[in-house]
Subunit: 228 residues, 2 copies
Amino acid sequence: MVCLCDDAPGQPEEQGRGAVTPSDQTALMAIGEAMDVRPGTKLFRQGDAATHIYMVESGVVRISHDLLDGKRQVLAFRWGGDVFGMAAGGRYLNNADALDKGRIQRFQAERLQELLLSRPHMQNRFLLQATAEISLQQHRIILMAKYDVVTKVVAFLLECCGNGQCFDPATQILKLPMSRPDIADYMGVATESVSRALGVLERRKIIHRHDMHHLAIDLPRLRDCARL
Amino acid sequence: MVCLCDDAPGQPEEQGRGAVTPSDQTALMAIGEAMDVRPGTKLFRQGDAATHIYMVESGVVRISHDLLDGKRQVLAFRWGGDVFGMAAGGRYLNNADALDKGRIQRFQAERLQELLLSRPHMQNRFLLQATAEISLQQHRIILMAKYDVVTKVVAFLLECCGNGQCFDPATQILKLPMSRPDIADYMGVATESVSRALGVLERRKIIHRHDMHHLAIDLPRLRDCARL
DNA sequence: CGAACAGTTGAAGACGATCAATCTGAGTGG
DNA sequence: CCACTCAGATTGATCGTCTTCAACTGTTCG
């Protein structure tokens, strides 16, 4: 949920993702390198040297962390416009895998660093996005700590519906590019619990499972059963 | 867990908290305003206009969020050197309360913003600290999602022991300024569960409750029962 | 056509929350 | 100095939710 930057502060954002002025845009593109990915493409592993910062142009990327005992936590899904791969200690702490066909832009960390130092307003955008990311994570901590499985799944679905990428408001169809274990590991519950939660929501006529990766969603009803 | 900044990049840090060069230090002090606080002092409430950024000089500050149903999540404890109160949307999302007698420095958001824009390296320090904060929160998410109550309490104790503020390595005594409900709401468990977990650790001779706010800690044994 | 795998559903068990009772310690007034 | 009080902490017993294990279904791919 991090987006890029613009030169002049205080100018209104046209889209939700934030406007990018030509000069910033071109400066970024000048140091960027595009990659086409397909489902399963590994962008980086935890422990790798953190050489690049990534940005999703299209597709979905899963950020996950493997634990010593073999368990896995999915920390985020990154959609179009999102930035990932910012590591503080010189090494990536997490894995990044493409879930979908898509296009990723990546920037050498040192060169991006230089660019940010030479463009304070652009760096400020990054800083603002980082603080926004912190707030989002705090939301997630609250969700994990205080709510039951059904509510977690509802929150997850709402988050997905917020993405034009995978939710079509006209047809009310949500396309989920990730597997049930991905969802389960994202919400910190068992795969079976996700299934059961979806079952509950379907019985309540809030969703309808067209197939495993396509849900029809009654968005208003989904929203008011969140109570967040 | 955010600290301040220095002018020249790449220079080694003297303390863990990061060195601050005189010019940055003085520039910050010029726009700063010191406040003395006592236990219970409210720095800000969720929903307040986010006018200031805060930094702890001494003492401990609790960052918490109240939910609609009356439950509360403690999101962080801020110790000496930590920064808090960075809000993306113009309003604080959380509450900040002093737990201890101490001294807080605060900066008007707009003036700090100006200062950061005029000092790219200083802003870069903030950005780095923000990404470090994101990593810490990811750790917290994993902790909340995957581990049992005892492990959570162990992780909490280790976090506290990392602070020279409250842990004396010589005497092995940890001084906890927060109450049991604070700890419970921080780890997302019930108060009773914290008590029981401390009981377990005491029976295992890993800690000894001198009184409610003072624990004798066998740090090596505590460390290897973490398994994180 | 059959194997392998993802997803779903069912039954049993474990862990932690909740409720209630007891204990501890600090502050107060006799 | 000691009993009293009150809040916070601890302990015990019960209950509910979610995990785990296992069986079953449906889909995809050789």
